[in-house]
C-alpha cells in the first residue's frame, strides 16, 4: 500500500515495544494491537548471531 493509499485509510497499528504507546492509541479509541515481544533466541547473543548466519545462508 503506497503512502498516498495509506492516507485514505483508517490507521490500524501493530505496536511492538513500549506498551505506553499502545495505551495512548487505545485511549483515543484507535485500532491497535500490542505484541508481547521478547528478544530473539531468548536474548542469547551467540544464538542470535547463529540464527542471523542461518538466515543469510537461506
Amino acid at each position: 500500500m503506497s503512502v498516498n493509499e495509506l492516507f485514505k485509510k483508517d490507521l490500524k497499528v501493530v505496536n511492538i515495544g513500549l506498551k505506553s504507546f499502545y495505551n495512548d492509541l487505545k485511549s483515543q479509541n484507535l485500532t491497535a494491537v500490542h505484541v508481547n515481544w521478547k528478544p530473539k533466541a531468548g536474548g542469547k547473543t551467540r544464538m542470535v548471531s547463529l540464527l542471523d548466519k542461518l538466515k543469510k545462508m537461506n
Partner: protein, 521 residues
C-alpha cells in the same frame, strides 16, 4: 551495606517501565542504590558503574530480568525489595489495558488484525532492524522510535521501503501524526490542510502546536528520524514524505523541518520544492536562507515563524519574518523591568535546561553569537560542556541527549533529570532559568507541575541567601492535550514563572533580560 541480586529468567519488560520502577524502589527505606533492568550489555555496564555487580549477573541474557540493590541489611532485606517490586509492577499493569489480547509475534498480530497498515517499533536498537525488515516484508509502513540502529541498517531499510513505496519513519523518530492519529510523542492537534515532514521531534511538535494555536490544522505529519538528511542516508524519507504530500489532495501547503541538511541532500530537496505546485515552507534551523528562497520556497527564522508563515500563506496574507512578541512591546518592557529588578549585580548567568533537543538547539541559534554558551550540543566545539570552567558562564543543555539518558527515561517522560540539574547547576550567580515544558502523548502526566516543584525548591534555597531568580518558560502543547495547555500555563504562572507563547519568544525575552543586565540595569 550489602549488595545482592535477584535474577528472574525469561521475564521481559520494556525499558521505560523498568527505569521508572527503579526510581520508585530507590525511595524504599534502607536502599542506597538499586537498578532493575533486563540483562543487556548496556545494563550490565551500568550495574558495574553503580558498583552493584555480583556473580549472579555473569550468565544473564537480555531476556532475563534482574534487581541489583545495595542496602542496609539492618533496615530492609532482599525479600522486602522483591515484594515492593511486584507491588509496583502490579500498579503499573493495573493502569494499562491489560485484558487485551497480546499476540507474541508480528505474524500472529497480523492474523488478529489482518488489515493493519502501520507498525510502531520501539524495541531495543539491536533488535529493531529485524522487526522493521519483517514489517516491510509484510508491506507495512513503519514508525521506528528505537535508537541505536546502525547507519548501514537505516540505509538498507529505507531503500527497501522506498522500493516498496512504504514509509520508514526513523530510527529515533519521536513524532508523527498519520491520518489524525498521533504516534509516540505527538500533540493532540486538529486536522487541516498543512502537511509536515520533520527530521526533529520537538521541532515538529513546536510547529504543529503553533499551527493548532493559530487556528490551523494538520493533514499529515511525517517523521524521518534525525539522520535522514545526512549524506549517508540521502534524505530518502524526507523525499518520500515530501512527494507524498505533494500528491495528497488533502494537503494545500507543506512544511519541512530539519537541522541544516548535507549539501547534496539539500540540493535534492530544493529540486522538488522548485517543481512543487503547492507552497513549501522550509525551516532548516539556522540553514541557508538564500538557497531556500532561490527555489521559490519560504524560509524561516524560528519554528514559530515557520508556523506563522504557513498560516499566513495558506490564508493569502502577507508573509513576513516574525521577530518580536505576541504581547505589545510596552508590556514586554514591563516584564523585563520587573524581572531585572529582582536580580543582584553578580547574577549574570543563564541556565537553559531543555527536555527537547531541537528547542535547545533553536535557543542557542537564536541567541546567536551574542553570548558564549556552553552546551552538550554546542554550536562550536570549544563551547562543549567539558570546557566549562567550574560551572561558570552561560549553560544550555539538551537533557534528552544520550549521556543524560543512560539507564533512565527521557526527561520528557520522567522530569527527574531536570529536577537534579535545578539542584546542581542553579546557583547564586544564575540570573535566568530557561525551560521548555513539552505536553502531549508519551510525555509525563504533569511536566509543568514538576517544573513548579523545582522552581519552588530553588527559590527557597536562593531565598536563604537573599536572592531571587528569573524563570522563563514556554509550553509546547495544546488545549486538547491531556496535560492541558491552559492548566499548565496557570500552574507555572502561579509560581512566578514568565510563560511565553513559543520557544522563540521565551528565548527572545531571555535575551532582553541579559541585554538589560549587560547595560547595568
Amino acid at each position: 551495606m550489602i549488595i545482592q541480586t535477584i535474577v528472574k529468567k525469561n521475564a521481559y519488560y520494556d525499558s521505560v517501565t523498568l527505569m521508572l520502577l527503579s526510581r520508585e524502589l530507590k525511595k524504599l527505606e534502607g536502599v542506597e542504590e538499586i537498578l532493575v533492568g533486563m540483562g543487556t550489555d548496556l545494563n550490565i555496564e551500568l550495574v558495574q558503574n553503580l558498583g552493584l555487580f555480583s556473580g549472579e549477573l555473569e550468565s544473564i541474557t537480555s531476556n532475563d530480568l534482574f534487581i541489583s540493590a545495595k542496602f542496609d541489611e539492618t533496615r530492609t532485606n532482599l525479600e522486602a525489595i522483591e515484594a515492593a517490586f511486584v507491588e509496583q509492577l502490579n500498579k503499573t499493569d493495573q493502569k494499562e489495558a491489560d485484558d487485551d489480547y497480546q499476540p507474541p509475534t508480528l505474524k500472529s498480530a497480523l492474523q488478529y488484525l489482518p488489515d493493519a497498515n502501520m507498525v510502531v517499533v520501539s524495541v531495543p536498537g539491536q533488535s529493531a532492524a529485524d522487526v522493521v525488515d519483517e514489517a516491510l516484508d509484510n508491506d507495512l509502513h513503519v514508525m521506528l522510535f528505537s535508537d541505536n540502529v546502525s547507519v548501514e541498517d537505516e540505509l538498507r531499510l529505507k531503500q527497501k521501503a522506498v522500493n516498496k513505496g512504504l514509509l520508514v519513519m526513523g530510527p529515533d523518530c519521536g513524532t508523527a501524526i498519520i491520518n489524525g492519529a498521533p504516534l509516540c510523542f505527538a500533540n493532540a492537534v486538529r486536522r487541516g490542510r498543512i502537511g509536515v515532514v520533520g527530521a526533529s521531534g520537538t521541532g515538529t511538535q513546536e510547529v504543529t502546536v503553533q499551527i493548532h494555536q493559530m487556528g490551523g490544522g494538520l493533514s499529515q505529519v511525517i517523521g524521518t528520524g534525525g539522520r535522514d538528511l545526512k549524506e549517508e542516508i540521502g534524505g530518502l524519507m524526507m523525499i518520500q514524505g515530501f512527494q507524498a504530500l505533494i500528491d495528497d489532495p488533502e494537503t494545500d501547503l507543506i512544511v519541512l523541518i530539519s537541522k541544516p541538511p548535507a549539501a547534496s541532500v539539500a540540493e535534492k530537496i530544493y529540486r522538488i520544492a522548485r517543481q512543487s505546485a503547492k507552497p513549501v515552507v522550509i525551516d532548516f534551523i539556522g540553514g541557508d536562507r538564500a538557497a531556500i528562497e532561490a527555489v521559490g520556497a519560504i524560509a524561516c527564522i524560528s519554528l514559530e515563524d515557520a508556523a506563522r508563515k504557513a498560516m499566513a500563506k495558506l490564508n493569502g496574507q502577507k508573509v513576513a519574518d516574525f521577530v518580536g512578541f505576541s504581547l505589545p512591546e510596552a508590556e514586554i518592557e514591563q516584564i523585563v523591568d520587573k524581572a531585572v529588578a529582582t536580580l543582584k549585580p553578580d547574577q549574570t548567568e543563564l541556565r537553559a535546561l531543555f527536555t527537547g533537543g531541537t528547542l535547545a538547539d533553536e535557543a542557542m541559534k537564536l541567541l546567536g553569537g551574542r553570548y558564549a554558551i556552553y552546551s552538550n550540543i554546542p554550536l562550536s566545539p570549544e563551547m562543549a560542556i567539558e570546557n566549562m570552567p567550574d560551572q561558570k558562564g552561560h549553560l544550555c543543555l539538551d537533557l534528552g541527549e544520550d549521556r543524560f539518558t543512560r539507564g533512565r527515561p527521557h526527561p520528557m517522560i520522567d522530569p527527574q533529570t531536570r529536577t537534579e540539574f535545578f539542584r546542581s547547576h542553579v546557583d547564586e550567580q544564575t540570573a535566568v532559568i530557561l525551560v521548555d515544558v513539552v505536553l502531549g502523548f508519551g510525555s509525563h502526566a504533569d511536566p509543568a507541575g514538576a517544573v513548579v516543584d523545582s522552581v519552588r525548591e530553588v527559590r527557597e534555597r536562593l531565598g536563604k541567601v537573599g536572592r531571587e531568580v528569573v524563570v522563563v518558560a514556554s509550553v509546547c502543547g495544546t488545549d486538547l492535550d491531556s496535560q492541558n495547555l491552559e492548566r499548565s500555563v496557570r500552574a507555572l504562572e502561579s509560581e512566578g514563572v514568565i510563560v511565553m507563547p513559543s520557544n522563540a519568544q521565551a528565548v527572545r525575552l531571555t535575551d532582553r533580560v541579559f541585554q538589560r543586565l549587560e547595560k547595568g540595569n
